[in-house]
């Protein structure tokens, strides 16, 4: 579904990703692991078509994703519909006047009828356990609530791939456990999950595969999540644990 070939990316003169080769199949659940500044967030932005590779290619379902291809409005909209991104800072993702409008933003644009929109929003509110927040202003919510609203607003688009950038950051343990459960459910329902994380304690059992980034912005290991997470020596050497 997602294929990255010899992909590199640099901000001005600073390299952020170097020679990345990666294939992600439909329905996989993948954790991106690495120290701060190793390139995880950049890779997630790249997968979502926010930034574009300096060299190499990115194929999504066989179609090359480039700045030019996303210039084509229809193609860009279909691509963004199929892949949902939950930002590390969920506050940036919330710009509507209330939680209902926030979640309904995507479905409304899809041209769904009122009834269908109501169903989607209600389901997302239920799924994220935020029904009580329906009429609240997103800006005034707590960190955990904002995260839930951000996830709900992305899920309302019903994306096939869900990309999460350190979703557990700054959340209380109960919310972390809730997000873990949610990720398990979503993956079980067929969604592809790609998630960068440092919070290994709370993501137990969610991911089948782990991709490890080095401080040189390259992939140094790609394998089973459980095997990698048990390799204490490797994790300490690479400033992950």
């Amino acid at each position: 579904m997602i294929q990255l070939n010899n992909l590199s990316f640099s901000y001005k003169e600073i390299s952020a990703l170097s020679n990345i080769n990666l294939t992600i199949h439909n329905g996989e659940s993948i954790a991106l692991i690495g120290a701060n500044g190793s390139g995880k967030s950049t890779l997630l932005k790249l997968i979502n078509g926010i930034v574009f590779p300096s060299s190499g290619s990115y194929l999504f379902d066989g179609m090359e994703i480039t700045e030019d291809s996303l210039e084509e409005s229809k193609f860009s909209k279909i691509f963004h519909k199929r892949i949902g991104f939950v930002f590390q800072n969920s506050e940036s993702q919330l710009f509507n006047s209330n939680v209902y409008e926030e979640i309904a933003f995507g479905p409304k644009q899809m041209g769904l009828d009122e009834e269908e929109i109501e169903i989607r929003v209600s389901d997302c509110l239920k799924l994220l356990d935020i029904e009580a927040l329906r009429n609240r202003t997103p800006y005034n919510l707590s960190g955990g609530e904002k995260k839930r609203v951000a996830i709900a607003s992305v899920l309302a688009l019903n994306p096939e791939v869900l990309v999460l950038d350190e979703p557990m950051n700054g959340l209380d343990p109960r919310t972390k456990r809730f997000i873990r459960e949610l990720m398990l459910k979503l993956n079980a329902s067929g969604k592809t999950l790609i998630c960068s994380t440092h919070d290994f304690e709370y993501v137990d059992g969610v991911f089948k595969r782990a991709i490890v980034f080095s401080k040189d912005h390259t992939i140094i290991r790609d394998g089973l999540y459980n095997e990698i997470i048990q390799d204490e020596k490797f994790l300490i050497e690479n400033n992950i644990k």
């Binding site: 001005k12 003169e13 439909n26 329905g27 979502n48 926010i50 409005s73 229809k74 909209k77 279909i78 963004h80 519909k81 949902g84 991104f85 930002f87 800072n89 506050e91 940036s92 993702q93 919330l94 710009f95 509507n96 006047s97 933003f105 995507g106 409304k108 644009q109 899809m110 041209g111 269908e116 169903i119 989607r120 389901d123 239920k126 799924l127 356990d129 800006y139 607003s153 992305v154 899920l155 688009l157 019903n158 096939e160 459910k185 993956n187 079980a188 329902s189 067929g190």
Partner: protein, 285 residues
């Protein structure tokens, strides 16, 4: 697990049950969706505009690495730039104006190629407007004075751009100390530049989020933009308050003293001699 059959779907229903209520089927199946045509260039344009401002601020980090002219003492650069600007404005002598122009063009030799291109491009635009405004004067036969004004405008803009592209803004604000600008003002300038960047980054993230969610037709585009602006305003207010609290916690009482220790090298002395000679030319020619 991939949904291949109705049995799989039923299994998913078993998994996704919240508070005894089942979530509807839509989440488990792919949408058959074809987006409608919509004009949505405004998000791209806004994103591009902010990116441009941010990259202008960000590139300040790389200024010092580029070369000799970039590392000149900003106090001298600022002082002489302002002095030369004043003398160019005062001068009625076309020889002095041409000399100043050549002296500024000499600076370009020491700048990075990319910067030179940008500086020249920017400096050529405004004199065109001056030329247009002066057309009546030229038609009436006042050619010499009109040309002088155009040359003055071109040289002045060139000079300011050379200063701006070769000096970090943070150093420029510190150099204002030469003109007895109070430290607290310099501090406020510094914070302003920093927060343009911080808020610009937030605005950019929100625009990215809007773009990612803009998957169809949005009849209320400007509502989304006003939402972003509103959030940004709240964020700037919150950040400002937080910063003030942080400053108070670190002993800030409303006074601030900036220490600006700039080294003077032989390059600075050469630069000073060069400029003093140019100022002397104003009185001699």
């Amino acid at each position: 697990m991939l949904i291949k059959s109705s049995a799989d779907l039923l299994q998913c229903y078993d998994i996704i049950i919240i508070g005894g209520e089942e979530v509807e089927e839509w989440l488990f199946k792919e949408d058959e969706y074809t987006p409608k045509e919509d004009k949505d260039k405004f998000v791209d344009k806004s994103t591009f505009a902010i990116l441009k401002i941010l990259s202008n601020i960000k590139k300040q980090d790389y200024i010092i690495k580029k070369g000799q002219f970039y590392s000149l003492n900003p106090m001298f650069k600022l002082s002489f730039t302002i002095a030369i600007l004043v003398f160019i404005s005062l001068s009625k002598n076309s020889h002095f104006i041409v000399l100043s122009l050549f002296s500024v063009l000499v600076y370009l030799l020491f700048l990075d190629k990319v910067d030179v291109k940008t500086i020249v491009k920017l400096s050529l635009i405004l004199p065109v407007f001056t030329l247009v405004m002066l057309i009546p004067s030229i038609i009436l036969g006042n050619i010499s004075n009109s040309l002088k004004i155009i040359l003055k405008v071109f040289t002045s803009i060139l000079l300011i751009n050379v200063l701006s592209y070769s000096t970090k803004w943070s150093e420029l604000t510190k150099a204002l100390k030469v003109f007895f600008v109070p430290d607290i003002f310099i501090f406020v300038f510094d914070i302003t530049i920093r927060y343009i960047y911080v808020l610009g980054e937030s605005a950019l993230e929100m625009l990215y989020a809007l773009k990612l969610k803009s998957i169809g037709r949005n009849p209320k585009k400007y509502n989304s933009l006003s939402g972003i602006l509103g959030n940004l305003f709240l964020k700037s207010k919150e950040t400002g308050e937080e910063m003030y609290s942080a400053m108070e916690c670190r002993g800030f009482t409303g006074e601030y003293s900036y220490s600006s220790k700039f080294r003077i090298s032989y390059k600075d002395i050469l630069y000073c001699i060069y400029n003093i000679a140019l100022i002397a030319a104003y009185f001699i020619i």
